[in-house]
Point group: none
Chain length 135, copies 4
């Protein structure tokens, strides 16, 4: 199973519905297994800084095969990966909202990244998008 535009838009739609339900304009990005953008939507009113951050959360998740919030702990001062966020020319984001997308065999086929609200709101919307892949 590979990431397709159709699948990416299905995930984005679910993330957008969640964002509307909590009244937070979000930006949602989906990348493929190579870390390359498949689709990105900026909801009206979403903050501009999140264009970059949503993509980089998705990039981070696929490039590390790890949800971005799990990297945060390891990249703290004193943590084993302190400084991680300045590698990859700044493409690594270490707070929540980026999740790898896996197929039914556990293969990572891409990732979703959401930015625009609090970290908790971003994670909730990204998880809503992720759920679309299972239905």
């Amino acid at each position: 199973m590979k990431m397709t535009l159709e699948l990416a838009l299905k995930m984005i739609k679910k993330a957008e519905e969640k964002a509307q339900s909590i009244n937070v304009p979000q930006i949602i990005a989906v990348v493929d297994a190579g870390g390359n953008l498949v689709a990105q939507h900026r909801m009206d009113g979403a903050i501009l800084a999140s264009i970059d951050i949503s993509f980089k959360k998705a990039y981070t998740a696929v490039a590390t095969k790890t949800p971005s919030h799990l990297l945060g702990a390891a990249a703290q001062v004193g943590g084993p990966l302190f400084g991680l966020n300045t590698t990859n020319n700044g493409k690594i984001v270490i707070f929540g909202g980026g999740y790898p997308v896996s197929d039914e065999n556990g293969q990572v086929i891409g990732a979703i990244g959401v930015s625009g609200g609090s970290v908790e709101e971003d994670m909730a919307c990204a998880e809503a998008g992720l759920a679309a892949i299972k239905s």
Copy 2:
């Protein structure tokens, strides 16, 4: 009138339909009046280089209020703007496929950029997207 996600997706849909009709997988980007991304779709099979190029065609069109193919002539060897494409940190693309989007009063509200095929194919798909704004 301002660029919205709804309007951007309407334009992208028309550009995608044109791309399907000529059997060329395209990447389509729409930016707002400030040159910031609103939406971007990569059709399955589209070349990776066009992720960057489609966005930058749209950026170029809004940042110069000029279709990108018209810049090409002026930026040719011996032309008055030779060297234009190395300004703006490489964000200026001087071949066809980027068009400003104007509202009914002639105000530029954003731009569309298409990349993935020949310049003619890119221009045809971008123009199909542009036409959506008039209907």
Copy 3:
């Protein structure tokens, strides 16, 4: 209401007057709602590093719709947005001196950023500039 050069210069003038009154040469930048520069003044004797920082404080404020000093707390070690300042290709500044500018309806129409003194001095001058919009 949109950011104009006239409005930007009015804000810059007030920020400069405050800077003169506290005897700190400042650099003041104003951006529009899209994060694009409208005007920037470097007072004689201001430190060179602040050319970049004043612009990026303004960019940060408009791109997050948040004064830059409020981001600092969230982006601290152990904070929910630790690592924020390495996103957006380093355009995010997380210390004080950047403020969004809103119109009478609460719409963000741009931002002001000041750099050159201590954070407190920068904030005081930026706030003086902000006040100009209300008169």
Copy 4:
């Protein structure tokens, strides 16, 4: 004699008046002898691409002690400086609108750069700004 904010604004004012008289919204930048920005104004309606280009024309003029239009010929295909515009991380602009500013002893103290119209219009406005230094 050194470039000051007062002198930069005097030049910018004259360039703006010329721009208004020919009805072309321009962006005007002034740099000091170190190539660092002193002031920049974006007239309402000026194209976004010119924020970068106006600054870089000024930078180019002071960094080469040569008006930017004179570099164009040498940087053409087959010319002795072909490729000049990709040096300095793209900060060199090789079309007209950037001029060094010299004091009464012929010492270069800074530069002015104008972008927003045709090359001829940009040059005319920059020259109007330059003239301010002699009065």
